[in-house]
Amino acid sequence: MKSKRQPGTVNTDFWGAGLMFFFAIGFWSQMDPDFTRYGAYFPNRLIPCLFILGALLLIKGFVKPAYLPSFWKAMNATMIFTIVTGVVWVFTLEWLGFALSSTLAILALLIRFRRESLKQPAQLAKYLAIALGEVGFIYLVFEKWLYVPLPVGSLWS
């Protein structure tokens, strides 16, 4: 942690304050006047605390700032691909079903992590086998042995 601004760094206190304000406003906007006294008691006291903590972080950001390397600069193409694949995976779970969405996502990640495999059919086949094997094993353990019903996929039903 550095207390002097250097190129490529961010003031983490400012960002932290922004995050606290974001959550505080988010929760505050959801406060319903129809809440019972008991249901509103605790949030009514904690939401102002979130605002105060955000304000304290803001003040610290001016008085004694903490600078760290920008987190978005650490995000390279592979990481962004992982995030995008993960988001697509979890949002298509219910639609495509566990088996298909998981197999496709694992395969995509394996190929992205070693792109030269696209030119090697044997490597591609190996990755497909890994993806199918892992998904098949998990499916067997959860669906058949532990009786946890995994999403079948609304597309197929």
Binding site: M1, V10, T12, G16, L19, M20, F23, F27, Q30, D32, D34, F35, T36, R37, Y38, G39, A40, Y41, F42, P43, L46, I47, C49, L50, L53, L57, K60, A66, L68, F71, A74, T78, M79, T82, I83, G86, V87, W89, V90, F91, L93, E94, F98, S102, A105, I106, L109, L110, F113, R114, I130, V135, I138, F142, L146, Y147, V148, P149, L150, P151
Partner: protein
């Protein structure tokens, strides 16, 4: 003593040992799978015990419970993903050890610590079940509120980089815990109009998201960066075999082991509290009294000793109110309560007299289970570690992601939990990059419902005593006062310690000058 010998005879049959061994393997696997909790494992196992004799059925369930809690350490150490909420703290030092090529030592340390914690908890259960249960029952809403405040005072040790951000994270966790139906009043709060949020945000999803996803994203920046190589011939930096080093980590710091086991057993006794709280409190206390607190979070095995001995002592602690008073204080205890009823046993004080043979056999089985944990841990620990370490990171990342997806889905069979897990993980990554540790957020999430319920119910109780000053009830009950003193001491401890260190340094300087 005769009762115990007779119980040993009941438990140590070939058939029971076989059932317990099977339960042990299944429990370790269930515990190691993120999202598959001890409660779920027991729930799945109970139907298989219907046809067994009462002793066989109960010892099988007991072994499964112990093993599931222990199994959580494997994913915590190797994947930075707590297999169960009871092993959150194990990730703090276990995963750094694994990345440093000391994962085998970490697993053995966890194994011996779990075994010791379990032993300790069992002796507490056998010796003090009835008096401890009576103390636990004197805890009312004000006391639970103060227990949660005491729990929140450990934020300082969970957030070494920035106390202010730790406190902010803790409050954020408290707020997130309020999503869903209010514990008192029944209001549906902060659900954004999404039906799935009415049941609240699932703790396990947030746990997996906050601890595992940021680590996966970090690994994804360079998928060719593998675990450090296993030390040649399995030896540690000191030249000592990891198994021996794991044993020494537990034995040479007996104060830590015993203290953490006591914390675990006591927290386990309190209805509503459990391993998720005990392991963090034990970790914090260990760090607080350590001579080298700065090494915690970087691969200090004492952190593992604290969390693993405490969470296994919780198992037996949870049996105290269940068996002695018939009060199931945790979800696994509630299922075991059902299993006891199905076997024709009514939990309560009479259980120890009317069906003492079965009850003491059940208690004795915990000793056997903890021996089995050590044996199984020593047998399989090395191979599980090597299997994970040998897998290239580029294959490990999608494999762990698969476990996180299925783990967060399995808890409630709800796809929204998977979405919350992954999006929460991205938020967790950003927060971690901004120096917000995930520990305080998760602590707030765990303690939020206890704090809110205790506070609001306490005020309702206080209204009955004094309508003008209902809050007075929080400061007038003897147990509350004890907890307030403990909370103040805990919060002020960094200041006390700094003053003590300054005093010692001054005395050393004086001694050097003379």
């Amino acid at each position: 003593m005769d009762v115990l010998f007779s119980a040993a005879g009941e438990v140590l049959t070939l058939q029971n040992l076989l059932f317990m061994s099977i339960a042990m393997v299944l429990g370790i696997i269930a515990g190691a799978l993120p999202g598959f909790s001890a409660t779920m494992a027991i729930a799945v196992m109970v139907p298989f015990t219907f046809t067994m004799s009462p002793v066989s059925g109960l010892v099988t369930i007991g072994a499964l419970y112990c093993a599931a809690i222990y199994g959580g350490c494997f994913s915590a150490i190797l994947l930075n993903t707590p297999g169960t909420p009871s092993s959150i703290g194990t990730t703090f030092d276990g995963y750094p050890m694994a990345r440093q090529g000391r994962g085998e030592e970490a697993i053995y340390t966890a194994t011996f610590a779990s075994g010791f914690g379990g032993f300790f908890g069992t002796f507490m259960l056998i010796l003090f079940a009835l008096p401890l249960a009576r103390v636990a029952l004197r805890f009312g809403p004000p006391e639970y509120f103060w227990v949660s405040i005491f729990g929140l005072t450990i934020i300082a040790s969970l957030s070494p980089q920035s106390l202010l951000k730790g406190i902010a994270g803790g409050f954020l966790g408290l707020m997130i815990s309020m999503i869903g139906i209010a514990p008192v009043g029944g209001d549906v709060r902060f659900d954004l109009g999404v039906v799935d949020f009415q049941g609240g945000v699932e703790l396990i999803s947030i746990l997996i998201g906050f601890f595992c996803i940021p680590e996966i994203l970090r690994l994804a920046t360079n998928p060719e960066d593998n675990y450090e190589e296993v030390k040649p011939e399995g030896h540690t930096d000191t030249g000592i075999h990891p198994m021996k080093q794991g044993w020494l980590n537990v034995i040479r710091n007996m104060g830590n082991t015993v203290r953490s086991s006591i914390i675990g057993a006591f927290v386990g006794i309190l209805p509503g509290a459990g391993g998720n709280i005990a392991n963090l409190v034990a970790y914090s206390e260990t760090k607080r009294v350590a001579k080298d607190p700065e090494t915690f979070g970087k691969g200090n095995p004492q952190g593992i000793v604290a969390t693993e001995s405490s969470n296994n002592a919780v198992v037996e602690g949870a049996m105290v109110p269940l068996l002695a008073l018939g009060v199931p204080g945790s979800p696994p205890a509630a299922i075991i309560y059902g299993a006891l009823l199905l076997q024709g046993l009514a939990p309560g004080p009479e259980l120890f007299t009317t069906r003492g043979d079965i009850t003491y056999a059940f208690l004795f089985s915990f000793i056997v289970s903890n021996v089995m944990i050590v044996v199984f841990g020593l047998l399989v620990g090395k191979w599980i570690y090597k299997a994970v370490v040998l897998v290239p990171t580029r294959v490990l990342i999608p494999s762990i992601l698969l476990l996180t997806v299925v783990g967060s889905f399995a808890i409630r069979n709800n796809s929204m939990d998977v979405i919350v897990m992954f999006l929460g993980g991205i938020v967790g990554y950003v927060m971690r990059e901004l120096e917000f540790d995930p520990g305080p957020v998760v602590l707030g999430l765990i303690l939020g419902p206890i704090a809110e319920k205790g506070f609001v119910q306490g005020l309702i109780m206080g209204n009955g005593v004094s309508a003008d000053m209902p809050w007075l009830i929080f400061f007038t009950r003897p147990l509350s006062i004890v907890l307030i003193v403990l909370s103040v001491l805990s919060a002020a401890w960094p200041l006390i310690r700094a003053a003590y260190d300054r005093h010692r340094a001054a005395r050393a300087a004086e001694g050097g000058a003379s």
